[in-house]
């Protein structure tokens, strides 16, 4: 059998929860909590301003959070909100791809902010009326790299089944993981940086013809694992839920490793960085974005969409890079042209990177 085209990304659907709260309002809400242990509150307020996030869309109204004082209460709220927001993102994505809900053959579901069994993808079979022979792959634990890794794994699958449709759904409700009693600096930074959102990516196998006039294909992917860096990012799972592990080494590692990894990846496909027109970078935070820009010697404004996404929604963990991809694909001013190349990249707990080479 002749090899078919690489899998195509037909559409990205995005959904933000309705409860918009500006950063200054959140700072105000956190002040009383911080004052229980901390003396210099201005310093902590400055930390929340330094992450360059304008506000977050929260899964629940702000006044409902204090009552969520156990892991069970937070996770129960997560299960309901993740199902509803995930359904919204999936409906939007399939509508944009002009495909019916029952066209989906495989649903990859990624998250790192809540757990459910049956998993959220199963709840969506019922909520959305998906097919009974739907193949489901729930993926927990990849953190911020999950969006990029999810595209890569869905593309791997479609290379084996080129006539099928796969959806990657990422739902991250970071606000429902907040450990209010953890007044450590990493947790205070995390509570200023991370937000809630869901993104669904419709991928079609190379044997199919997506409805949209112009779309990228997943030409190649690469996973890169950084040995012995387990404490750089992650969760400590404690009695009250997920306690954040976050080290200042994250931007350092980006600076040390990402250029070599990207160059090696591109070289394996006969390319170099000068050929890449579009950079779709995970919105880790201002320091991480600056590290990407400097290490990869990117032109000014190359990561403008990532900066804007950070400002508008905060870091949405695995969903962030998918929001940025969606913005690029739906760009009306100067949309990507046929033949354009792009690199989608994210890093996450492991510590590790996932790189995706896109071709329009």
């Amino acid at each position: 059998m002749a090899p078919s085209s690489p899998p195509a990304i037909a559409a990205v659907g995005r959904a933000l929860p309705p409860h918009r709260v500006e950063q200054e309002t959140l700072i105000e809400a956190f002040r009383a909590l911080w004052a229980r242990q901390h003396f210099n509150l201005e310093r902590l307020e400055d930390l929340h301003r330094a992450v360059r996030v304008g506000g977050r869309n929260l899964a629940l109204p702000l006044d409902q959070y204090p009552a969520l004082d156990t892991f069970q209460k937070r996770n129960d709220a997560w299960i309901r909100a993740a199902r509803d927001l995930g359904a919204e993102a999936m409906k939007r994505a399939l509508e944009a791809a002009r495909l019916p809900l029952d066209s989906v053959d495989h649903l990859f579901f990624v998250t790192v902010t809540g757990i459910a069994t049956p998993s959220t993808d199963a709840l969506l079979v019922n909520a959305l009326g998906l097919r009974e022979d739907l193949k489901r792959t729930p993926i927990f634990g990849l953190g911020c790299v999950g969006g990029a890794a999810g595209i890569a794994r869905a593309a791997d699958y479609l290379r084996a089944f080129p006539d099928q449709v796969a959806v990657l759904l990422s739902v991250e409700l970071c606000s429902l993981t907040l450990q209010r009693e953890d007044l450590s600096i990493p947790n205070i930074i995390a509570s200023g940086l991370f937000g809630d959102g869901a993104a669904a990516v419709v991928l079609e196998g190379g044997g199919r013809s997506p409805a949209r006039a112009r779309f990228p294909r997943v030409r190649a992917t690469r996973a890169v694992f950084y040995r012995d860096t387990e404490r750089i990012m992650g969760w400590d799972v404690v009695d009250t839920g997920f306690k954040v592990v976050l080290s200042a080494r994250v931007p350092v590692l980006v600076r040390e490793r990402i250029r070599g990894d990207v160059d090696a990846f591109l070289a394996a496909h006969g390319l170099d960085r000068s050929r890449i027109k579009h950079w779709v970078a995970h919105t880790g935070g201002p320091k991480v974005l600056r590290a990407f820009e400097e290490a990869l010697e990117l032109p000014e404004r190359a990561l403008e969409r990532s900066h804007r996404a950070l400002e508008e929604t905060g870091n949405l963990s695995s969903a962030s890079v998918l929001f940025v991809l969606g913005e690029l694909m739906d760009e009306e001013g100067e949309p990507p042209r046929e033949g354009d190349l792009g690199v989608l990249l994210a890093m996450g707990p492991g510590f590790c990177s996932e790189l995706v080479l896109l071709e329009w």
């Binding site: 003396f39 210099n40 310093r43 902590l44 930390l47």
Partner: protein
């Protein structure tokens, strides 16, 4: 590990510790905070002459945690401008003691 217990925000009493005692307490507190982030055995050996970054290899998150911990323990504020002259553990102890003594003489 025996952490100094000072959970309350009450101001120092009339018989507040003198400068030498404050210096001793600041070093103990630095060792305690570092011990929470690093191996306790290594932090117990931290000395005044050691450089925070060059010798102890603290990263920005650890430095911030250290500054916030000292602020909480001694009820002082250490700002961005302060950090310019701080290289060693001794510099940091001096700064904390200076701020704590100044805060004491204020009304």
């Amino acid at each position: 590990m025996s952490a100094p217990s000072n959970p309350d925000s009450s101001p120092p009493p009339a018989g507040a510790p003198g400068e030498d005692e404050l210096r001793r307490q600041a070093l103990v507190e630095i060792r305690r905070i570092l011990g929470e982030q690093r191996a306790a055995a290594a932090s117990a050996n931290v000395e005044l002459s050691q450089a925070l970054v060059a010798d102890i290899h603290l990263d920005s998150m650890e430095l911030l945690t250290l500054a916030v911990g000292l602020e909480n323990r001694f009820r002082v504020k250490l700002n961005e401008a302060d950090s310019a002259g701080i290289v060693t553990v001794g510099d940091l102890v001096d700064l904390v003691v200076r701020r704590a003594m100044a805060g004491r003489s204020a009304p």
